[in-house]
């Protein structure tokens, strides 16, 4: 949507074609920048500086004692090398990617399904849509605890339902099982993200011209064919935005996993943010924690750059 508007806005008016190689020179005065200075300073102070401080801290051997005494030692890239050579970093990265990609896949699939459902007219549509939005506005602490209780092995609702209908013979300790813990936190995270995806996809669906569907119907296209050949391609920009924002949000998720499993059992749900937390605030090795945090920044940042470049090209 945005890209279309940007494209439209940057079109030159008919009859006045741009003169190749000639660009209008319009120097911006210092005054112009003074207007954005407060916002820029705010961003620098609250985002850029902490970010760079964290990257910088990764170059120091900084256990808490040295950190507080101001006697940290510059070690250059050795901590980054150590982190990259440590199997637990790669295991955590793998866990992070599985957790994130599975959450995004679930979020997009269920979000799209609900979005298509709610573009139809049926009684209680608005009420149901509002109710489905609840998981998104719930504080993540509450949502995580709700899932922790539901998945409890002894008195959890999930076990009760599944044993009642004989799907499982005996209760399963979902959050204590190395096999089921990661799917459980994926499910809980996707549950909170689906309404966000659904809302954006509904907006995307409403922007697809009805005429396109009518033409497809006249051509004898079936529902499935219409979905894959019209809906999905035309939703691609929205789905990309949802996937990217979802990735960035999910990749850095800490609270949901920490409350549900604390990164366990073992390292089954130890994603990079949990690993960074453990290094910095359990082992009190701030340099090592900062190193993991920096690695945590790289993937979403690269994805964001790729996305913005691709949208610029589209524009």
């Amino acid at each position: 949507m945005t890209t279309t508007r940007v494209a439209a806005a940057t079109k030159t008016s008919p009859g006045k074609p741009p003169r190749a190689g000639r660009k209008r020179k319009r120097s911006r005065s210092l005054g112009t920048y003074l207007f954005i200075l407060p916002a820029a300073l705010f961003v620098v102070a609250t985002t850029v500086y902490p970010l760079l401080y964290n990257v910088n801290l990764g170059f120091y051997d900084a256990p808490i004692q040295k950190f507080l005494r101001g006697t940290v030692e510059w070690v250059g890239l050795s901590q980054y090398q150590e982190a990259l050579g440590d199997p637990k970093t790669w295991v955590s990265l793998g866990t992070s990617l599985v957790y994130t990609l599975a959450t995004i896949a679930l979020m997009l699939t269920v979000g799209t399904a609900f979005a298509i459902l709610f573009t139809k007219t049926f009684p209680g549509n608005k009420l149901l849509r509002s109710l489905l939005f609840l998981p998104y506005i719930l504080p993540s602490v509450v949502a995580a605890n709700v899932w922790r209780w539901m998945l409890d092995g002894t008195s959890g609702l999930v076990n009760y339902l599944l044993t009642t209908v004989r799907i499982i013979p005996e209760p399963v300790f979902w959050l204590g099982s190395p096999t089921f813990a990661l799917p459980a936190v994926i499910l809980a995270t996707a549950w909170t993200m689906v309404p966000f995806a659904m809302l954006l996809i509904i907006a995307g669906l409403q922007n697809i011209p009805r005429a396109t569907y009518e033409a497809a119907e006249l051509d004898g296209a079936g529902r499935w064919s219409t979905f894959w050949r019209i809906t999905v391609p035309l939703l691609r920009p929205v789905l990309s935005v949802v996937a990217l924002l979802g990735f960035i949000y999910t990749f850095k998720t800490f609270d949901t996993i920490f409350i549900m499993t604390r990164g366990g059992p073992g390292d089954a749900t130890t994603v990079l943010p949990i690993l960074a937390y453990n290094e910095a605030f359990v082992n009190f090795d701030l340099g090592s924690g900062a190193t993991v945090n920096t690695l945590l920044l790289v993937i979403p940042m690269v994805l964001a750059i790729i996305y913005f470049r691709s949208t610029r090209k589209e524009g």
Partner: protein, 424 residues
């Protein structure tokens, strides 16, 4: 799109901004001494000239500590700004305050963290004041030892807690068994009392530090030393827990339970026994008055051992008025004050003269108090690394109970982590 000149100007602005940020970074090496860094004063979020006091007593524990401080203010006229910080955020907040300024005057910290913060120059050395005060011999050895770092005193014990074995006598009676006194008996009783969806033993085995306590109690009772897990004590302790799980003595759910969950299991009779601290005495009496309960000392093996859970009062290195801070701490230590305060907190006395009070002669409370004499705490060489070691202990336990590692492999991995943590 953008014109070239405009691009250049924007780039200049960005480069300038980045340069300023980089310069700001380059100007300061990360960290700094609390005494000189930051605001250079002790504000601690107060700023009113009153003493600032940080603690992590949440939930039902907030009111008693606030009432205690209020009583001090009423008696002395000295104002105290008291601030609660959740336990999970406490050390991080204290660390941030130490770095950026704004440390409180007094911090109520976990006893096991005393050596860590003392070694980081966050705390004031209280040795001279303690010598002048002369009441150090009134304290139980275990809690007092946690205040000692490098031969100096950096804290005063505030309250303590120990772990015992809670038994449901009704269930044990039905099974025709008595409360166990040794770990071998505990294994057997756990299996004998497990039936109809009920398990014999519940303990906290959740990821992280908290989930290491029960296994470490077993390990220490077998004569273990937390710097050496690969010996006989480690194998015996791990084998014991592995057998109990295989024989149905406890549920694999222990790996997901924190201490509140364990209490819930016991309160609802879903478990015949639990390993837990005295914190739940009042709750159990109120919530399950009909439950037949007997609390016995932690089972023995090679030795008898319990676990010390305690908090220490400390004066930070940026304290603005150390005399007032010390006055508040010593006022809190008075036996009559502590004996009025402790029942509200469900905690145990840290002083022998306080423990002589009639209320501590109650048979149930006495089990916990008596174990203060045998309550284990890491010494100053281990305690700064204790969180990392205990986290690795839980990971080893989890890997054995889930079948993802053999006992030997799990203990070997645990030993490597421990060695690394102690060398750091």
């Amino acid at each position: 799109m953008m014109n070239h000149h405009q691009n250049l100007t924007r780039r200049s602005a960005l480069v300038g901004g980045a340069g300023l940020t980089a310069a700001a970074l380059a100007a300061c090496t990360p960290g700094g001494t609390p005494a000189t860094g930051g605001s250079g004063g002790s504000d601690g979020g107060g700023g009113s000239g009153a003493l600032t006091f940080w603690h992590y007593y949440g939930g039902a524990a907030t009111a008693p500590i606030e009432a205690l401080v209020k009583r001090y203010t009423e008696e002395t006229g000295n104002d105290v700004d008291i601030r609660f910080i959740p336990f999970g955020d406490f050390n991080r907040t204290l660390l941030q305050a130490a770095t950026g300024g704004g440390l409180p005057d007094i911090a109520l910290i976990n006893a096991f963290d005393t050596a860590l913060f003392a070694g980081s120059d966050v705390l004031t050395d209280l040795s001279d004041r303690v010598t002048e005060w002369g009441e150090q011999n009134a304290y139980f050895t275990g809690p007092w030892d946690t205040t000692q770092v490098g031969g100096s005193t950096y804290a005063i014990p505030h309250v303590a807690d120990t772990y015992s074995l809670w038994t449901n006598t009704g269930v044990l009676g039905e099974a025709g068994v008595e409360a166990p006194t040794t770990w071998d008996e505990t294994e057997q009783v756990a299996v004998d009392t497990a039936a109809d969806g009920r398990f014999g033993l519940a303990y906290c085995g959740i990821d992280g530090v908290e989930g290491a306590t029960a296994w470490l109690l077993r390990f220490l009772a077998a004569g273990g030393d937390v710097t050496d897990f690969t010996g006989d004590a480690g194998t015996r302790a791990m084998g014991s827990f592995q057998r109990m799980l295989e024989d149905g003595g406890f549920s694999e759910g222990v790996l997901t339970w924190n201490e509140d969950d364990v209490y819930t299991q016991f309160r609802t009779a879903a478990s015949a026994m639990m390993i837990n601290s005295a914190s739940y005495l009042t709750s159990l009496a109120e919530e399950a008055p009909d439950l037949e309960v007997d609390i016995v000392p932690m089972p023995a093996d090679e030795t008898s051992v319990s676990w010390l859970s305690a908090e220490n009062l400390t004066i930070t290195s940026t304290v603005s008025d150390p005399d007032s801070a010390w006055e508040l701490i010593t006022w809190m230590q008075q036996p009559d004050v502590m004996n009025e305060y402790l029942p509200d907190r469900n905690k145990l006395p840290v002083r022998t003269d306080v423990a002589e009070d009639e209320q501590w002669q109650d048979p149930v409370k006495k089990v916990f108090v008596d174990q203060l004499e045998i309550a284990w705490a890491p010494d100053e060489s281990v305690s700064p690394s204790s969180a990392e070691i205990f986290t690795a202990v839980q990971a080893a336990l989890q890997s054995v109970l889930s079948g993802s590692a053999s006992v030997d492999d799990a203990l070997s991995t645990l030993q490597s982590t421990t060695d690394e943590a102690l060398q750091a």
